[in-house]
Symmetry: C2
Subunit: 174 residues, 2 copies
Amino acid sequence: MDVQSVLLGFLMRSSMTGYDLRKAFSISFSFFSGLSYGSIYPSLKKMESKGLISKHVEIQDGAPNRKVYTITEAGKRVFLDALRSPFVPEQPKNAFLMRLFFFAHLSPEERGATALAQLDSVQRLRKELESVRPEIEARADRFQHLCFQIGLRYFENLADDLSMMVEALQDENG
Amino acid sequence: MDVQSVLLGFLMRSSMTGYDLRKAFSISFSFFSGLSYGSIYPSLKKMESKGLISKHVEIQDGAPNRKVYTITEAGKRVFLDALRSPFVPEQPKNAFLMRLFFFAHLSPEERGATALAQLDSVQRLRKELESVRPEIEARADRFQHLCFQIGLRYFENLADDLSMMVEALQDENG
DNA sequence: CCAGACATGTAAACAGTTACATGATTAG
DNA sequence: CTAATCATGTAACTGTTTACATGTCTGG
């Protein structure tokens, strides 16, 4: 799903500025990496020129004027088409699995330390996710609820795999 | 882990051509998406100019000459450093989760069909992975073995989540 | 005879991140 | 007083895919 479709999706709910969209994304998809302004603002510009969204400028002094975007009928059609289109299943590039693949080149100590570091960071992400759960679920519909659960389970499964590995590696260190 | 480090990793095992490297990658990391020539050949050129690999040309007639690359001592150091470097935990962008997030905009039938399609494609990937298992494990060390198992389990977990979802959506359709 | 493996590479296009540039207001 | 939040945007860079370009050999 490309940036434009995601932005349209959020605009289905309510009109927003680029700044707001970034926040909405980073809250709702806290298990993903964020969306940068460098990709949001150019996308909004493109979508406006294609007539998928319309802009309303709120004059402010001091701060830059707020540009509030609203999805148009054409935009809604494009969004729904994207949502219905068949998708190609994604295969994730996982940096840890790639490292693991070459683990034989490291010493037992280095392997243990690397695996432990990965486990730690996965646990940290998982706890972070759990801590924002109430905030997310407060405004989530049942699908968004499910989405969060699947996202969370992904980290839980990964953590399980990694703890198993850490134990195995510790055994070999004695 | 970037393309260059991965290529160096494979060259640690034996000298190869760009063509061979692509095959090695697509076999070993069948649970990831592949590596294209458009990213392999330029990477090899860069690494050669940095002295990380050296080239030996085998003249062939008819077919283009084979350019066999061998990792240098400098290349080995760079590879090992990359393997030991602390990594940033990755957060996957999962297109299906993004769609799921906006599922409320679809009809119950469309939701069912979309989830089923995703389940199908995950199952297909999983079966494919299972079918190449013997081929992979024949030449794998124990870490590569583990790597494969974790990759496989990722798809198994995903399939479990999805079947649960498909059932839930079928219930709502009656 | 045709598909697929072997083998190399470039160019254009596309997506996205990071860093830069600017500056007011507010909460601790 | 200082960090964070609000608010916009551009430019340079990096990485990657897709399509183009070329041609032989081998197995079914």
